[in-house]
């Protein structure tokens, strides 16, 4: 019975996801592709994923761009503001590896996964909207469906704090 309730909770959670998009110093190309995800051709809202730029009310943090030194602490703070259950999607080559900015002469902290835990990465410069859509639509609901079963273990301590 409890398990059924957990599954129901997970099902409902996976159907209503609010995302926050953060650009941590990229060239704005990935943000434009994310914008294209919300147009009629690749409608993300039909999957129940809403654009809601408020970290305290959202479930998913979409990070684009290499993390500059100015963004490093702010990104950590932003991540702590997002309530559990939460997921982070790194979109673009910059967020996955630092991209073209992360080479000799560039001043960036490098991939997002070295600063905050990342659940899905979408490579590409910029990635196609359908690649972003498939990353968000296939990976993130799966996380939220399983979260009720995981929350007692390592995640519970994090949620309390």
């Amino acid at each position: 019975m409890r398990s059924l309730l957990k599954r129901l909770k997970g099902f409902v959670r996976s159907r209503s996801i609010h995302v926050t998009v953060v650009n941590t110093g990229g060239c704005n190309g990935c943000d434009i592709e994310i914008l294209a995800c919300y147009t009629y051709r690749y409608d993300l809202e039909q999957y129940g994923i809403y654009y809601h730029n408020n970290p305290r009310k959202s479930d998913v943090l979409i990070v684009t761009g290499p993390v500059t030194y100015q963004w490093r602490e702010k990104l950590e703070r932003l991540y702590r503001k997002v309530p559990e259950p939460k997921a982070v999607v790194a979109v673009g080559a910059c967020a996955c590896s630092g991209g073209i900015f992360n080479q000799e002469g560039g001043r960036v902290c490098g991939p997002v996964r070295e600063i905050i835990p990342v659940d899905a990465e979408v490579p590409g410069c910029p990635p196609r909207p359908e690649e972003i859509v498939s990353a968000i639509v296939e990976v993130v609901p799966r996380l939220f469906r399983a979260w009720e079963f995981r929350r007692g273990s390592e995640h519970g301590a994090e949620a309390g704090g």
């Binding site: 159907r15 999957y47 129940g48 080479q103 000799e104 490098g110 990465e121 590409g124």
Partner: protein
Amino acid sequence: MLPDYLGQILTRKGGKRLLDAHSPRRILDRPPRFRDFPRIDLDRCVVCGACADACPVGEAENQPPALEMGDRGPVLHRERCIRCGLCAEVCPVGAIEVGTLAEEVKERVVPSKPARVVVDRDLCVGCGRCQEVCPSDAIEVDETASVDPERCVLCERCIQACPVAGAIKLIPLDVEELARRWTEHLKEALRRAREG
């Protein structure tokens, strides 16, 4: 229309799609000039390293470059690649495909030349007339003339301008072409002998 729709629902996959908004949809068509991640054909690769030199994403601390040369050919690191398509453009054998850009690049790959202009260094006097007439600046004269085969367009003007017979020669790389030229040469010699 309606049978199509019903068929989509009545199959197992269609029924699942109706109930679950999260099941994957079909991938949309690629627009023209779309650049995907490079697909590398290792069988055609000649391991020249031109693609790795052209790649704009260099090595960083604990991050590899986007294209790295391995023993058997280039190795692509997807998280570094910015899909600029430069690797496909510089590839001399067309072994790299980048989305729908591949067809355009294929047209630009220059076919190998049917012949080669060769200077006989023993006969060349270094007068520099061939350098003057060459339309593509392929010849450089430094004591004797030397030809850059990449720039040469096989116009044979240098052969006409050369004062020494046989110092500059056109050598076809194709066997059939060689045979055709040889028979022509023989006929010409025969005709001259009869007239003379």
